[in-house]
């Protein structure tokens, strides 16, 4: 059919654009790879040492980037893991405590120790708010250094221990440089793979739109623990390499300044990017060398740089290099959904039952927000939920979504009670929702945001994504295609590569709907989707919602716009002061005296 081929053409064009941009994205990395690989040809031994240090730092920063840049956790005390890795490797290789290990084995063991402690240091992030977590990582860093000082029998105390020596061919300076360079390249490749995987996108969702991430089924604890494991291991390996580089380590080599260097490199580079922090690390490692008289001021300069970045270009180097998103967007482009594509996007649902609330009551601090609520959302129907402000509409949505536990009554899906306080389980149950204020990742592209909707459909594990194994690539291709289809369905395919924070408000509403459709929902909960839309957009939105319902989903539409409600709903429930005032067809409701009075007051 004409329509299908148009869509395929769009998809192909997008894919071609995608691969062109992939080559464009890979170019800087290839450039750096070439420079790094050929370094001995044009640089002297001293610069080789500096470059080695940059590579070692980058091994740590690459891992930390996932924690700070992607997951958004303010872990400023990560030097603790560098210290741990350095000492573990050195002590094991030197044989203070047990018979000496071969250096590679010592490095591997250090990686394991780092992984474990990465989780320990990172765990508070799951419970504590931003500033508190930052302070605890600070404390950890201090503790580790102090333990290193105190535990003289093992660490040599203030005197320190010699670093391990790698066997040939890596024992020479240039040999060791290539070893570190190879590891740095591998780390770059691995973290770039994660960045372009559902895990990387899920991390950015946790960072910028945590509530929406939960609604998409992303389980924060599991993902964060995985990332802390990985980052901890990398940091510890970097520590071992650091020990080799320094050839002798003492506790005061691991200053707080070093920790800040890593952290600032990521912030200067820009969150959510791999290239940015890489350039940031190189910059911060090489800067003191060029600013020789200012060496003592290097930390001061890092801090100034950080302040400037925060105030002027919060997106860092990555934002400055993002030329593609500088091009002006076509303004006032009409958003024209394609409901005819829905059969391809959504499953022909094999679901039977309804989503019901039975005598549900929710109270906050003694006040009943909703009471005695009976609601049934049938598949293939659009069910409207209206009522004055404070009538409890959003509370109903949040009970279904799992944020509030009912005081009484139960919410059921197909006769089975929905688990309470398990927001991320809803995605598995194919219950999708949008939010009153769009919750999207502003710094990411529209496509990136929509692909997050399909996170739970991925089959590949973190390790498979890390190494870009076939199953990961299949996942990515499928997600990409489905997301493009979802965007075409809502009429936004042209804006797929655009950054979300550049889009007008109405577009954001449709992006959220596209993301929700990625779940192939059995039930779609819409929270005031028409707010801020023009009359024409509301009409198109209405048509799209009806089409989604006719495909088999049950839609719950919470709205203020009377026109939209009366136009498209099959059934309407009216709430007032937390109780049901009336329920019935639009015609019945419109002429219902009490409803009119409730709206008009009195």
């Amino acid at each position: 059919m004409m329509d299908m081929s148009t869509v395929r053409l769009q998809s192909t064009r997008a894919a071609a654009f995608g691969s062109a941009s992939t080559i464009g994205a890979a170019l800087p990395f290839l450039l750096l790879l070439t420079i790094g690989a050929t370094l001995p040809l044009f640089a002297g031994g001293y610069w080789g040492l500096i470059a080695t240090r940059a590579c070692v730092y980058w091994v740590l920063v690459a891992g930390l980037n996932l924690v700070v840049g992607f997951a958004g956790q303010i872990a400023i005390g990560w030097v603790a893991l560098l210290t741990l890795g350095a000492y573990t490797t050195s002590v094991l290789a030197a044989g203070n405590v047990m018979p000496p290990f071969p250096p590679y084995v010592a490095l591997a063991i250090a990686a394991g120790v780092g992984a474990v402690f990465g989780v320990i240091i990172g765990l508070p992030a799951l419970r504590l708010r931003t500033f508190y977590f930052a302070i605890t990582t600070l404390g950890f860093a201090t503790i580790v250094t102090q333990v290193a000082l105190a535990w003289q029998s093992v660490t040599g105390g203030g005197v320190g221990v010699p670093g391990p020596i790698l066997p040939e061919p890596f024992s020479s300076p240039w040999g060791f440089y290539y070893f570190c360079f190879a590891l740095a390249a591998i780390c770059t490749w691995m973290t770039a793979n994660i960045a372009a995987s559902r895990f990387g996108r899920a991390l950015t969702a946790i960072r910028d739109a945590e509530v929406a991430a939960e609604a998409c089924g992303i389980a924060k604890p599991a993902l964060l623990v995985t990332v802390f494991l990985f980052s901890g291991a990398l940091a510890a390996i970097a520590g071992g390499l650091f020990a080799v580089l320094q050839s002798y380590i003492t506790p005061d080599a691991f200053t707080f300044d070093l920790s800040l260097l890593f952290f600032i490199a990521i912030l200067i580079g820009g969150r959510g990017s791999v290239l940015g922090p890489l350039l940031g690390t190189i910059l911060l490692t090489f800067l003191p060398e060029f600013a020789a008289p200012l060496v003592a001021w290097s930390t001061f300069l890092y801090a100034v740089l950080l302040l400037v970045i925060v105030l002027v270009v919060p997106g860092g180097i990555a934002e400055m290099l993002d030329f593609r998103n500088r091009r002006p967007l076509e303004s006032n482009r009409a958003i024209i959904p394609r409901p005819d594509l829905l059969p391809r996007l959504l499953d022909a649902n094999v679901n039977a039952g309804a989503l019901t609330l039975e005598q549900v009551a929710v109270s906050f601090g003694g006040v009943r927000a909703i009471d005695g609520l009976d609601l049934a959302i049938q598949p293939r129907q659009v069910h409207g939920l209206i009522g004055p402000n404070g009538s409890g509409k959003t509370t109903v949505l949040n009970v279904i979504s799992g944020y509030y536990a009912p005081l009484a009554g139960v919410a059921k899906l197909n006769g089975v009670a929905l688990p309470v306080h398990a927001q991320h389980s809803r995605a598995q149950l194919r219950i999708a929702r949008t939010f009153q204020t769009p919750r999207l990742i502003g710094a990411a592209s529209v496509l990136h945001n929509v692909m997050i909707g399909g996170t739970i459909d991925g089959r590949g594990s973190f390790a498979e994504s890390l190494l870009s194994l076939p199953r990961h690539r299949r996942d990515e291709a499928a997600l990409h295609e489905q997301a493009m289809l979802a965007l075409t369905t809502v009429g936004l395919e042209q804006l797929a590569p655009a950054r979300v924070d550049r889009l007008p408000h109405s577009a954001l509403r449709f992006v959220e709907i596209a993301r929700a459709l990625m779940l192939r929902p059995a039930f779609l909960l819409l929270d005031e989707p028409a707010a801020g839309l023009s009359a024409e957009e509301i009409r198109r939105l209405g048509a799209l919602i009806v089409a989604v319902a006719r495909q088999g989903a049950g839609v719950l539409l919470v709205e203020h716009h009377a026109d939209l409600i009366f136009d498209i709903c099959d059934h309407i429930t009216v709430l007032n002061l937390g109780r049901i005032l009336a329920a019935g067809t639009p015609t019945e409701i419109r002429s219902h005296r009490e409803v009119v009075n409730a709206y008009l007051g009195g």
Binding site: P388, N389, G390, T437, P504, H505, L508, E528, A531, G532, H560, H561, A562, D563, F566, R590, V596, Y599, L600, G601, G602
Partner: protein
């Protein structure tokens, strides 16, 4: 810019406002004359609260806002309060950690010390039940008493125009009557009032004129003594007679300063 003597106390023209990217109000024209009580009605989400916030300077907006002959464009709440335009927020937001008396004293923050106590007494005169509890923490007050305290705070400023956002919300009918009685007294004493309300009948009983706001635009404006008003309001709310309402408001014409070219 020629201003005629008939310029209303508050004159709003072409006002648009929103929250970030979300546009809520489009091209609003509205006036309140000195000593008038104007009701602003409308369903939820229409933008009534947004309108008050834009006028009082809590929200940035585009368009023109003139008060007592002064241009208030871009002014913040501090300037508007000084000019005599006072906004009582929705939800009876008083400072619960402080006593009622402190709440009122804070409203008199900019006044010289000697005058503060007098102003507080003045405001309390209309609310004997608050006066009796003036040294109690505002957090111990009931919702209705907090609402009265909030109105009293507004009165400390001796406003020329008092804007109230749904003062009846969450109050028992008796307390609502109490608050409305105070508003009636204010009107008699010459204070202009712009009242956003959900209780149509009570608002209409008190007001001189009424505006209806729906979906971010004025859909109806009329004097309250006109016939058939409740019915017309109903239709305007549910958008069932949109073109009719539009034609009506065009007929009446939007009040603008007469005489001279409107320019800035």
């Amino acid at each position: 810019m020629p201003i005629s003597a008939a310029e209303p106390l508050l004159w709003v023209a072409g006002l648009s406002a929103g929250y970030g990217k979300i546009g809520v109000l489009r091209d609003i024209d509205l006036t309140v004359g000195a000593g008038e009580l104007v009701a602003l009605l409308g369903p939820n989400g229409a933008g009534k609260t947004t309108l008050l916030r834009a006028v009082s300077g809590l929200l940035p907006c585009s368009g023109q806002v003139r008060f007592a002959g002064r241009n208030l464009a871009g002014a913040g709440p501090r300037e508007t309060v000084r000019a005599g335009l006072v906004h009582v927020l929705e939800g009876h937001r008083v400072f619960t950690q402080l006593t009622a008396c402190d709440n009122l004293l804070l409203a008199a923050y900019d006044l010289p010390r000697a005058e503060r106590a007098a102003r507080v007494e003045e405001a309390l005169a209309l609310f004997p039940e608050i006066a009796a509890r003036r040294h109690d923490r505002a957090g111990a007050f009931s919702g209705g008493q907090q609402q009265m305290l909030a109105v009293a705070q507004g009165l400390v400023h001796r406003p020329r125009l008092l804007m109230l956002d749904e003062p009846s919300a969450g109050l028992s009918p008796m307390l609502v009557d109490r608050v409305f009685a105070v508003l009636g007294q204010l009107r008699k004493s010459g204070t202009a009032v712009l009242l956003v309300e959900q209780l149509i009948e009570k608002a209409l009983a008190l007001a001189d004129r009424v505006y209806a706001l729906a979906r971010g635009a004025i859909v109806l404006q009329a004097a309250t003594r006109e016939v058939d008003l409740p019915h017309r309001l109903e239709r305007a709310y549910f958008g069932l007679d949109h073109t009719g309402a539009q034609a009506e408001s065009n007929e009446r014409g939007n009040a603008r300063p007469s005489g001279g070219v409107v320019s800035s």
